[in-house]
């Protein structure tokens, strides 16, 4: 079974530029998450999708971050304009349907963003 795929793995941009990250979850996983992991900290949830609907985006800085999951499969996370404090690893995760909160999260390898 293929894992969660993310791209690009690394991205370096200047502040105020824009960037987009892509995620392809494990086939059949209806729930998809984007987490932000700042160096030395635990992952922080940015947004949770159930199929193509948003379940929780309470911690997403909506003035600069946006995410979509068209057709309930792939997802894109965009940052525009980027700030220095957005430097982090952006992790995508998915969960099997029907497992609820106790279901294992399957994480991708992440996209490391450096904002100069």
């Amino acid at each position: 079974e293929a894992g969660v795929a993310q791209s690009p793995r690394y991205k370096i941009i200047e502040k105020r530029q824009s960037v987009a990250f892509w995620c392809n979850p494990i086939s059949g996983h209806a729930t998809l998450y984007w987490y932000q992991q700042i160096l030395g900290q635990g992952p922080k949830l940015l947004i949770q999708f159930q199929n193509n609907g948003v379940v929780d985006d309470s911690q997403l800085p909506k003035d600069r971050f946006s995410a979509e999951r068209l057709k309930g499969v792939d997802s894109t996370l965009k940052i525009q304009p980027a700030k220095l404090e957005d430097s982090a690893v952006y992790l995508c995760a998915s969960r099997k349907p029907g497992t609820g909160s106790t279901g294992e999260l399957f994480f991708g390898e992440g996209s490391r963003l450096t904002v100069l």
Binding site: V4, G40, G100, S101, T102, L105, F107
Partner: protein, 113 residues
Amino acid sequence: QQQVKQSPQSLIVQKGGISIINCAYENTAFDYFPWYQQFPGKGPALLIAIRPDVSEKKEGRFTISFNKSAKQFSLHIMDSQPGDSATYFCAAARIQGAQKLVFGQGTRLTINP
């Protein structure tokens, strides 16, 4: 109320020793407590998890101890091996309503050969 506090930030243990990582939570509504293991350049992966109806869960060399009254839980790694060197995250969630997982700050564990 949503925080999970983890300690220590870093830990060095000799091969064969016991590694202990502690977590404390505030929200008494949390009822699911997993531990995730993360190797450099990789995403976190589920290691072991516990629900508060038991005080201990063991899987191989990994044990979670849970103290509901103190709102604390810990991960014990017995006979620690160099391959266990990684960052470990505790987490907590409310099961009802598929609430989000809240992660601790992480512990970087190094096992010296």
